[in-house]
Amino acid sequence: MSRIVVVGSGASGVHFALSVLSKGHDVVMLDVGRVKPPVVNPEDSFLDLKQRLDDPVRYFLGADYEAVVYPGSTGEYYGFPPNKSYVFSRPPAFVTRVSGFAPLASFAQGGLAEAWTGGAYPLDDTDLAEFPFGFRDLEPFYVEVADRVGITGVADDLARFFPVHDGLLEPLRLDRHSALLLERYARQRSALNTDLGCYLGRSRVATLSADWHGRKACGYLGRCLWGCPTGSLYTPLATLDACRRFPNFTYTSNVYVRHLRVGTGRHIATAVVESSDGRERTEIAGDRFVLAAGTLSSSKIYLRTVKEETGETIALRGLMDNRQILVPFLNLSLVGRRYDPDSYQYHQVAMGIDTPALRGYVHGQITTLKTALVHPIVQNMPIDLRTALTLFRAVRAGLGVLNVNLRDHRRPENYVTLGEDQPDAPALVIHYTPPASEADVMPRALKIVNTALRRLGCVVPPGMSHIRPMGASVHYAGTIPMTMTKAAHTATPDCQSSEYENLHFVDGTTFPSLPAKNLTFTLMANAVRVAARSF
């Protein structure tokens, strides 16, 4: 049995670790490991918190009121709440210099998926066309992850885009607005399918509709954004806890991996780590090494490994991310109605668009507004605040947002490399340019979704759609791609490094293309696949 050093505790790292632990390998997981704050009042609903917390303003707005969205702010309508700031807290050693890209990186226990919205979509053969395997190869691993995680879904019109695999739980209880959209869709199905190539159905979400492996079913407390208090919405911490129950698992936190030291015969010998504050440095030995720190962090570790070994600063080309467009809408039939605060807060309905005009599948997730802070929206309305508050109360139950995702491909002009200014602590340089076709595809996609929403009884306020900056989706991939033929700085179909034979990658680094669907479920399934095939 091998001693495997895994870098990172995100979605792919913990699922890989759990698989190889089950096989009897020893695993040492290295992690900065920012710690999640304790859950407050786990039985309380969103509205209960406002009544029962000693200091609810501190909980919702932060100790320094940092969650207040003031007029003129250029950020998103809804940022991450104060209790999730730990997810994006970086160690001083992780510095980026960016161009055309606004990266998010996580050094939290559980990684970025501690702040995800649970979208869990398997890729189909069309999505996997550039991968060295197809859906049937990946399906058993989707099923295995679904069993670990608990994924709700149903075979509906979207099954044409998301293959139906075993192990799906019953869908969550629908909120009224989402139910209304699906009812309208049922009446408009034929026209939407034929005219627009647009299909609606239930989202696949990693949130439990029934108790599962010791975790509780969703309590419909309306607190998803602030962190599910019952653990029903899956995050990788649950799997990290499962790993910790193995005696052959060692979790080492408060360490930042600088690079891997190469021994003889292009074998990685040790991971060179420093304490999170940068004061102490040490080396961790292992037989095999697995990078699971997320595409940006794994790329940086790899770049520094090459630099330490050869003295050469290389660029890893092909960085990808999904362009996202947020399309707010108002369902007119819900104007003047009350919203239901006791509901699942994130998306329950998904939209798939497949039409030649868009040159590939476009994926959307529809989040209807339920519990949420009011002021980020009212402060942005072009009317006086008192009228804005009256208007918001009137339309709240009918508000929603469609998050449109476009796919991406590897292109050589997008790359990561190391900055040359500070050799001992180089910045990660990230350069991204959107594809030229985007200028053509985005307006077409917007036109289609606006028409679709209109047919569903909704209006899209003009000028309110928001094109998120590249990097905002946090679906990064593609810097060391899987290839069938060996090439420099690539990976084999089983995600083994072409340069270092005892090094594997199990995060998005190796994806040769980036479909429009959220990639987290596939990251987890691929990590389990690598564990099954190579360890």
Binding site: V68, Y70, G336, H375, L385, A397
Partner: protein
């Protein structure tokens, strides 16, 4: 003494603004949070604001008509005004705590006709307020900006 006076001023401001925005009284908890936010967020202080910004806060503090005119004007011509930031902060505080949070949750009426009439009335009031406030504040804003530039230029 200066702190006490400043606190009293912020308390009065909070009460007036809350009444204008929500027609509600505020608790001592909300008053404390409003003051605390001003202590932690310097951009909310009128001490460093320009003259026109300070003037808008003074007019808005009078409540009623003054606040209505300032609200309409800043919605279109001066979104980043300090007074608007104070209002947004106050809405954020009020919506985060009971019982004031409930104000933001339910429509004024579920009767659609009555609702549309009310919204139409609000819309017309906004248009009227915008017209009046533009006549009042726009020349003043331009004048104060010009004199401010002039005095800065002379100092330079």
């Amino acid at each position: 003494m200066a702190d006490l006076a400043a606190n009293a001023e912020l308390n009065l401001e909070c009460v007036r603004f809350a009444r204008y925005l929500t027609q509600q009284a505020v608790s001592t908890y909300v008053l404390g949070k409003y003051r605390d936010a001003h202590a932690r967020r310097p951009h909310l202080s009128t001490g460093t604001a320009r003259r026109f910004d300070r003037l808008l806060v003074v007019v808005a503090r009078t409540g009623g008509l003054g606040a209505w005119l300032v609200d309409a004007y800043t919605a279109v011509f001066f979104k980043r005004a300090v007074v608007r930031q104070k209002w947004v902060l106050l809405v954020a505080i009020l919506e985060s705590t009971a019982p004031t949070a409930a104000i933001f949750d339910v429509p004024d009426t579920e009767n659609r006709v009555a609702l549309f009439v009310r919204l139409a009335g609000r819309g017309m009031a906004f248009a009227l307020g915008l017209g009046l406030s533009t006549v009042m504040f726009l020349p003043l804003q331009l004048l104060l900006a010009a004199t401010s530039r002039g005095s800065t230029g002379r100092r330079a």
